[in-house]
Symmetry: C2
């Protein structure tokens, strides 16, 4: 028996998110099917991040246990021949039987992309949120600084969050223009449900001049979801990387 860690990239457009749901195509169900075709075992992967419907990833992580003799490194090649082309296993490796990417310290990097032009860019329509509003990126960056560090992010969590504590630590937020896009890169040690999309929605309102960058302080303090901006649409969000911080792999 060995445990295999997968690094998975996907275009979330055509999936109902990561998690298996009866009757809907999900990333997890496609991975389970492909793994079971190879191993002939009834394996279910366990993911690090259950991304929502429409959210994309360049580096989500998942583990599964198998008796297959195939070396862990070969699974990426074998799985990619059986997966649809909008899902790729970009790396596979053997980890200890105790290792689970959800239960070790990690730093996650998300990018929220806004196509900011007069009209949508057809080549980016699936991977960005489109808005023709004029945004002040400097104000967005200034507001982002107030979010960096350890805070109670209750105002930036879905009211459906099941987390025991809403205190999280953001290690950095960068807001940049690139081509016809605004890119918001958020790094942190853990995120609440919808947190990055609510941060994006709030920074966009600040960039549009709806309120001042400093008002982030009041929003955080309020611990009230209704004080923050809207949840930005799923298709603009990409989970870029999950970095394993401790040495338990």
């Amino acid at each position: 028996m060995k445990r295999v860690l997968l690094k998975v990239a996907y275009d979330g457009t055509n999936y109902h998110g990561w998690q298996v749901q009866d009757g809907s195509a999900t990333i997890e169900s496609e991975l389970n099917r492909a793994i079971n075709e190879i191993t002939h075992e009834q394996i279910e992967v366990s993911g690090a991040s259950r991304t929502d419907a429409g959210v994309h990833a360049r580096g989500n992580l998942a583990v599964f246990d198998t008796n297959a003799r195939m070396p862990a490194e070969k699974f990426s090649y074998a799985l990619n021949t059986r997966l649809p082309e909008d899902i790729r296993v970009v790396e596979s490796s053997e980890v200890s039987m105790e290792f689970h990417p959800r239960f070790v310290d990690t730093e996650k990097t998300y990018m929220y992309r806004i196509c900011n032009a007069e009209f949508p860019d057809p080549l980016k329509r699936l991977y960005t949120f489109f808005s023709y509003t004029k945004y002040d990126v400097d104000k967005m960056q200034k507001a982002a600084e107030y979010l960096t560090g350890e805070h109670d992010f209750k105002s930036f969590a879905s009211i459906h969050t099941q987390a025991k504590t809403t205190v999280r630590e953001i290690t950095g937020i960068k807001v940049e223009r690139a081509d016809n896009e605004i890119q918001i890169t958020v790094k942190g040690y853990g995120f609440l449900y919808n947190m990055v999309r609510i941060i994006a929605g709030t920074l966009l309102e600040i960039g549009a001049g709806k309120y001042a960058p400093e008002s982030i302080k009041d929003i955080l303090e309020a611990c009230d979801r209704s004080k923050a901006g809207p949840t930005a649409p799923a298709q603009g969000l990409t989970l870029i990387e999950i970095k394993i911080l401790d040495g338990t792999v």
Copy 2:
């Protein structure tokens, strides 16, 4: 009667190219349909560049003549409500009745994108050619310098070209790495059928070490399509811009 110039962006994935073909969805046929819905005239647009099936554009140009009273600038907004979301009119303006983007001096910019990683990137699969081969980008750039300037590009044209002369002028080629991509940007005053894709295919063979950068000189001199590299796949190619050079708009 007035002539309207459209700047058109599209994801070519789901189309059989620009040009109207019986029974197939094309960019031109979608534009004609949308314009006719608005004007109730039997209008056919005339494009600057008849891109192939699968090729993308951020700035192709087309003109049409109409008696509609709608100001030319408003057509972009009106058309976008009637076009599928993989086609956008990003600008519309009135031009003189004599103006046609195919018959004035223009400088065109194309980008050929190669996703160069161990595995394809699902988020770029529709807009790049995937290759895991290791390429020497400096060699590709060096080879590209030999293509710059006025040459007989017969070796770099499809044998089906109907051009009277195969002499063209390339004003610049840039080969760069960006993220997990190699991007080949080609600018010139006119291109032969498949020319950019054959240039990309040839530069990739040079980057892979199949022959030296200097061999471009022999390939040009041979005036023989079989001496150049393969035609790189359509989905990696994007027509970025057509710049009108004279003052006839």
